[in-house]
Subunit: 219 residues, 4 copies
DNA sequence: AATGAATGAGGATTCATTCAT
DNA sequence: AATGAATGAATCCTCATTCAT
């Protein structure tokens, strides 16, 4: 009773504990601030055990990124059967909720993204990869909702949509509860929608140039 | 005579060298990644000399933030005598240019902003302070351009304007030359302008709801 | 069926794999440089399996020494029925060949021999033992070829013969192909033979002291 | 009196203390067996101070090699004004004495020489370099004493002379006082001298080929 | 006959900082 | 106004070894 040390070797669970601890630490302190000793303390496993499960610190943090992204995706993903027309506002809400509930993924990712070290971290590369996947996903969604948009515009809008969302997340991280993330994301969704509509209109105009089309004023 | 007299020690210059080195290092590696040894190597001055000029590492990085912000402000500031009507587009251009030329300030600042360590860094506080000043500045500008906007809207718009700009900066940091920062900031300026106009219109409508009610100022 | 049945565990073969790996590693890096992890990697067996076959690292390396010596002896040994008169030149050739083909035994042994650690290694002791056996063997051979040599001379010559051979081996290890080991061992064999002959002559002279001493000119 | 800690920073002396400690440790345990912690303990300076004076462990051991060689050379070198004819026997004596008194240089060097690690140690390279210098020195001496020897023979003899000496040193390291190093080196000197004389004679014979010289059978 | 997992001790090296000069 | 030297704590990671299965 005094020490019912669970001596059952259980690889899966240990790995999970380590990732849990590392996720919290890394998302609060960044890569350099994440010491193996701290992860060891928080996970309850000796430092050497961390090295049984992960090649090195970089490998550990990359694994954190990947798992974190999975969790985050699941939280954001829209359940099957949803009415497509509700997708936009629904996704906006889900994103906000995910950022408030599990900010680990994005906080850590952005910290890594901002770094420039002589030799790339696998952890950073891992983040950029999942970010690229998100980019493709959103591009596709945009094209579905606004058929007729040219590639350049889709690119521009997607970049803007993602980047601004990053920025809003940071604002919330800095400002805490005084930042109304819901209102900001509402604004953001509308703003992107309007911009998409305007760009689409401009494209159409440009295409049917000599015709009698009337000017289309900014939304 | 036997020794080639080292030129008279020049405090100002040494300090400057150290700050120059620290600015580059810190903006590439963040706070934890900035080792005194590296700053020493890059500045050409011994580590102990850094401690003659700065109390500790935190003090050094805070000084970097402050000087960096000064430099950045000077690059962004609009020269006297400019036509106020050109201010918006001009400032947009200047901001883009400053972010491309001297990204140190914002890169370091955002890295610091994202961190959550048990004991606050003076360096982080310093960044948040200059950011607050920028917030006030932009709020004022917004109010000047869109008189009649209620305080909540100004707050929301300013937060959005700044945050999205942060996000665009990050996108550029990640994507490099493949990210067209000029186009993104053009879009951003327009989007904020439109949103401001719409919010203003909504406010006016709300205020003159049923009849000729007199203006009711918020706050 | 679901699992491709790992072929029946074969103790002998595993043990051999481990010894093979350890032999290479230890002869390249010495005792301290031989990590169980590296032997594990090179042998393809988990570290814990190494401890199933060997008590500890010292035990493993001692086993390497013993097996290695066996291999080496077999390579050097003169087949039965050989004409005794050809033994010397033949053995010289065989030794050279063995040192070129399987240098593991001697390389590792000499490394161990040179070490001086607070607590003796069984591995080192094992090497010194087989070396002693070799010493006796060569002493006997010498006595057979040069009957009449006093014990001191046999000792001296044997020590010289073995030691110089060690040194030549090292020279080859350092110099690689640029060192003509065949020529060196030819020289060595002749030199030892001459020295033995001279010592024998000196002994005979000394024994028949008061008699008509004949001048023995050096060289 | 209880703690008159010498707090006078004295770089030279500290460096010397570290080298002294490292020399002993490395020559007893080899490169891998030389832990910075042990050197720290034996030298009385903290491990971090060792890194003020030396870049890394490899740098430290290379410095040991170089200093050790200097010491050894000084012990072996023949004072000016010595009668050249006494040089050979004198040098033999001096070498024996140096090997008995300060065996550090050669013990460490041979251990390093025998190693084969994936990435070369600067320490090993340093040893091979000084060894090369010794080779040239001895070659020159040989040529002076035996003018007329062809280059191949000089090479062969020098290699043999050095290598056998290495082997004799090892024999003494293994056998301790029971190994009569003086007798062995006397034998070695004579053996090399005789071999040189014989080789020279053979060369002369070969050069005057067409003459009536009879075959010279092996001694 | 093995092995996945664990673990405390120790490995080299860097850290921020101080101190005497 | 500086700096060579020092230093204890911390860094990441590897070590030999054990244990439960």
């Amino acid at each position: 009773m005094s020490k019912p040390r669970k001596r059952r070797a259980n690889g899966e669970e240990s790995r999970r504990k380590i990732l849990d601890a590392a996720e919290v630490v890394a998302s609060e302190r960044g890569y350099d601030g994440t010491s193996i000793a701290l992860v060891s303390k928080k996970s309850g496993l000796p430092a050497s055990s961390i090295y049984w499960h992960f090649k090195d610190k970089d490998d550990l943090v990359a694994a954190v990124i990947e798992r974190s992204f999975g969790t985050w995706l699941a939280a954001v993903a829209i359940p099957d059967g949803d009415d497509p027309r509700e997708q936009v506002s629904e996704m906006s809400m889900r994103i906000v909720k995910s950022l408030l509930d599990t900010p680990h993924f994005l906080r850590l990712g952005l910290m890594l993204a901002l770094e420039r070290r002589p030799e790339e971290l696998r952890a950073r590369t891992a983040f950029l990869e999942v970010r690229d996947r998100a980019f493709e996903q959103i591009s596709t969604t945009l094209r579905d909702f606004m058929p007729g948009l040219d590639d350049g515009s889709v690119r521009l809008l997607t970049t803007y949509a993602i980047s601004a969302a990053d920025g809003l997340f940071i604002a919330r991280e800095i400002g805490g509860d005084s930042v109304d993330l819901v209102a900001l994301f509402d604004l953001h969704a509308r703003v992107v929608y309007d911009a998409a509509a305007r760009l689409k209109a401009e494209v159409r105009t440009r295409n049917s140039d000599s015709d009698t089309e009337t000017e289309i004023s900014t939304s």
